[in-house]
């Protein structure tokens, strides 16, 4: 079934849903930038940029609350059904994931500040760059799939998470090797490790967003490995 949210008899309802959607995408844009800048601050030991990421994080939290309130009002006023209801539900869930991506970006920024204070660049940046690129692409693609109601793109993006998880485990083993080789580097490598962990989590959130795209378009809840629900629709 084609997705149209601009054909309600109530023009006000069209506008409510449209602005809910665009607010969410705006939040998505901010969060994507946060991830990029957090990784940048870590790679370039740029504590100023890291501080900026921490400031913007508060704004993202506020946006999640605004979106929740907006969605609650739509439910109260319009009692949405079918695709409208799925739109509202998926926006609420995606906003939650985006807020958590924001949290992970802030964690990376904090690591950047800690590492900058310690001076010397530790090992592990190559791995961070590599995983960061992969999850940023996933995040972008998931939001893009939402914008275009594109289930295939969502499923393709969702599948990329497996590779990210694999790369994360490989990087983890390498970090452990570094620490074993040079115990003095433990505290620094731990910071890198936490950042890798945050990036891996961002991949999971992007995957959640893809699952919501499938729910929105097909009405199938494929979370927690229930991809077979898609076949039942």
């Amino acid at each position: 079934m084609e997705m149209h949210f601009d054909q309600h008899i109530s023009r006000q309802f069209n506008e409510d849903l449209e602005s809910l959607k665009s607010e969410m995408l705006e939040m998505g844009g901010m969060v994507t930038r946060q991830v990029a800048e957090a990784v940048e601050s870590l790679a370039n030991a740029d504590s100023e940029l890291a501080e900026k990421v921490l400031r913007v994080e508060k704004e993202i939290d506020r946006r999640e609350m605004d979106l929740d309130e907006h969605a609650t009002l739509i439910i109260a006023k319009r009692q949405p059904a079918a695709s409208d209801l799925r739109m509202v539900m998926s926006v609420i869930r995606i906003a939650r994931d985006l807020e958590r991506v924001g949290d992970e970006a802030a964690k990376i920024a904090k690591m950047a500040i800690a590492l900058t204070e310690e001076g010397t660049a530790p090992r592990g940046y190559t791995e961070i760059r590599h995983i960061a690129n992969a999850v940023r692409k996933m995040l972008n693609d998931s939001l893009d799939a939402f914008t275009r109601f594109d289930v295939k793109a969502a499923l393709d993006t969702l599948a990329e998470d497996e590779q990210v998880d694999m790369d994360y485990r490989t990087a983890l083993r390498e970090m452990i090797t570094f620490m074993m080789e040079d115990p003095r580097s433990i505290s620094r490598v731990m910071n890198v490790l936490w950042s890798l962990r945050s990036l891996e989590r961002i991949g999971d959130h992007a995957k959640n967003i893809c699952e919501q795209v499938v729910y929105l378009v097909e009405g199938a809840d494929i979370r927690h490995g229930h991809e077979d629900n898609l076949k039942k629709v």
């Binding site: 054909q7 309600h8 059904a81 079918a82 695709s83 799925r86 009405g219 039942k232």
Partner: protein, 291 residues
């Protein structure tokens, strides 16, 4: 999947094919309706129903089962035929001149239409509650006792007293009226009057209750009471309800049937209809889009 037009005759989706195959004889075709119009344990079974008002066809080849102890909600825009279809079930359309009903309608496998069928006992088995509460201009007691008396279900005062009390209790009205049973039914509030009409309908121990927009003239509190009552009545009765309130259909029914221009477009579990309808006309209607 949902781009079919109303004239497409082959749209029964694979998901429901199994059920239809098992329960319907092979000459019956469920044309154009998507979802699950038929069920295993049917109390009421309607097949290929067509209704005409003079030259005008109001219902086009509708097939639908209503299961035992099931509430089926019928929704659709004004003039879609849902009330006409409901009124076929207890032959209320017989009273309309020029109205002709075709098709097989059965109650527990016995034909509803037929030369030998007496509509008076039929209507005792299939009770009806209307949009506007219509108590008789008699006392509250008489309103409930009238049916059992004329159907010969009870004649002695003690029996009638018991039926009146039981019916009013089941309709959730007893406590409010027990001290004024001799007062006119028309003196009650709208919500109370509607519950009195429900008590009157259940006093003759029907098997099926048809409700035609029973809450459209009631306030939210009275509506909530009736909806609560519908859920309780389901234990003993089969209920078909026509409603313009989508939320009401979602709250009270197990299956929902969507009518459009005299066609039965979709029947599905209520949950499915309100979260992920299969037909785009259903989707357009329940979400308030231009259909």
């Amino acid at each position: 999947m949902n781009t079919m037009t109303l004239d497409a005759g082959n749209a029964a989706p694979a998901a429901t094919g199994q059920l239809e195959q098992d329960t319907v004889d092979t000459n019956t075709k469920v044309s154009e309706t998507v979802g699950q119009p038929l069920c295993d344990d049917a109390k009421l079974s309607m097949r290929n129903v067509n209704v005409f008002y003079g030259e005008t066809q109001a219902i086009h080849d509708v097939s639908l089962d209503i299961g035992r102890n099931e509430v089926v909600a019928m929704i659709g825009p004004s003039g879609c035929g849902k009330s006409t279809f409901l009124r076929c079930i207890n032959r209320m359309n017989d009273t309309i001149e020029g109205c002709r009903v075709d098709g097989d309608l059965t109650l527990d496998g016995e034909p509803i239409y037929g030369p030998k069928v007496d509509v008076v006992p039929l209507r005792a088995r299939v009770g009806m509650v209307f949009q506007k509460p219509n108590p008789f201009p008699k006392t509250i007691y008489e309103n409930v006792a009238y049916g059992p008396k004329i159907h010969g279900i009870a004649s002695r005062r003690a029996e009638l007293d018991e039926i009146v009390e039981n019916s009013l209790r089941r309709a959730g009205l007893w406590n409010e009226v027990k001290d004024r049973l001799d007062k006119p039914g028309t003196g009650l509030s709208g919500g109370q009057q509607q519950r009195l009409c429900i008590a009157r309908a259940i006093a003759v121990s029907p098997e099926v209750i048809l409700m035609d927009e029973p809450c459209s003239a009631l306030d939210p509190i009275a509506t909530a009471r009736i909806e609560e009552l519908i859920d309780e009545l389901r234990e003993n009765y089969t209920i078909a309800i026509v409603t313009h309130s989508m939320q009401q259909a979602a709250r009270v029914s197990q299956r929902t049937a969507y009518f459009h221009l005299g066609h039965l477009v979709e029947v599905n579990d209520t949950e499915t209809v309100f979260t992920n309808p299969q037909h785009e006309l259903t989707e357009a209607y329940i979400t308030g889009r231009f259909g």
